[in-house]
Amino acid sequence: MADELTYEAATARLEAIIKRLDSGEAGVRETLELVREGRALVEFCAAELDAVGRGLQELRLEELVARLEA
């Protein structure tokens, strides 16, 4: 899916949000909306990192192919 969120897109947006918040130019409504969006991105990034931090899982190609064909 072309619109699927990627880790790099999430971190790029997160950086932009924090930059905007750090500028102090955002009003209270915008600040709270940016914080809500940022929190969702942080949760997404943390989940992505968790997915590659639970322990190495090794699989042979034949097993993967068999699983796909099953």
Binding site: E8, T11, V35, V42, L61
Partner: protein
Amino acid sequence: MAPSRPQPRPEGIAGSPHAGPFPVGLYAAKLREELRKRARVQLFGEAFGFRAGRAKVFFELRDAGGALPCSMWRDAFEALNLGGDLADGTQVVAAGGPDFYPGSRTSSPAFSFAVGELRVAGEGDLLAQLEALRRGLAAEGLFAPQARLPRPALPRCIGVVCAEGSKAREDVLAGLRRRGWAGRVVWAFAPVQDRRAAPAVTRALQDLAAAPEVEVVVVARGGGSLADLFCFCDETLCRTVALLRVPVIASVGHHTDRTLLDDVAAVSCSTPTHAAEAAVPLHCAQARAAVHDAGARLAGHARRAVLDRARHLAHLSRAPGAHVARERRRLHQGLREVRASASRRAREERVALGERADGLARRAAAASGPGADAHRSRLEGFAAALAAHDPERVLARGFAVVEERAGGGIIAGAGEARAARALRVRFADGAVDATVDGPGG
């Protein structure tokens, strides 16, 4: 070393038509002698697998029809000033003849073509073929598609093509560990040398790319000669890689060996460890710290967004009250000043009135002093004197007062009486009017 003892000659093979048995060392020495008798010739082919020993250098001379192991005295080779070793695929002309090292009980025999003279003939056929293919693929634009593929910063699943049990596999794992990455690895083990390698690697890559969860593929192999790596210059393999949906990271051979796979792949790395690091561009521990930091900063902004504004609002809401309190204080102060001023003024008035009262009292006291009786007697004397001269008392004694009737003025002489004519004569018991008739007698 223990001295060799002559072995007793064993019985030969019964019924064999061949002479012997002879000691093998004797035969080996004879073979060398026979080989050395052969004519010296010049051969040409491509040199591969060059290595330098202590006294000799060794390489293989190959062409499509066959190959020969070659050796050359090291000092003779260095005298050629070729600037190091012979790159694989270098086409050379070698002059010499066959030789045989007979070996011994403790060393292996070896056959070689003993090279006495050598000349580099030009670029080898293999390299020429490789360059032609490289130019063709480049002209078709097949080096670009992989480079254009987006590479995930944090893939969940990585495919790896390498030889099973190879050092490359361990290096890939070490690279992934260095990144702190512990996701899913799909191993596609394949031969990475000889004629079976290219089709097997091609198939493995196609199968890995067909799995939707595989986000990036690493092809890893340790160093080797160009001939060993030539399977990674296979045209079918390179065309397949160029059109794969997933980015391929190649680490084949050492950095000095550039295969066509390195050209078509998304990234070319010098070692399998680097290839693994390129597959996971992100350092996971650092990324975790960065995400945690971002979360903390967001929380700080959220807190400040509410608290700072609440503080500001509280400040604003306090302002009118503070203003009223300030005004109240000011009015109280004014009131106190007015009161102080009034009481000061009253005090001053009281003092002034007291002083005036004191003055009056003093004057009153002075007026009612011991001389008052004397004054009273004198006044009574004056009153008696005045009473004696009262005209009313004269009338009582029988005198009359003549007054002008019209004006009431006292007529004191006859002339005035004549002039007035109408007179009023007042007696003690009443008045009568009179008129002047004449001058009188």
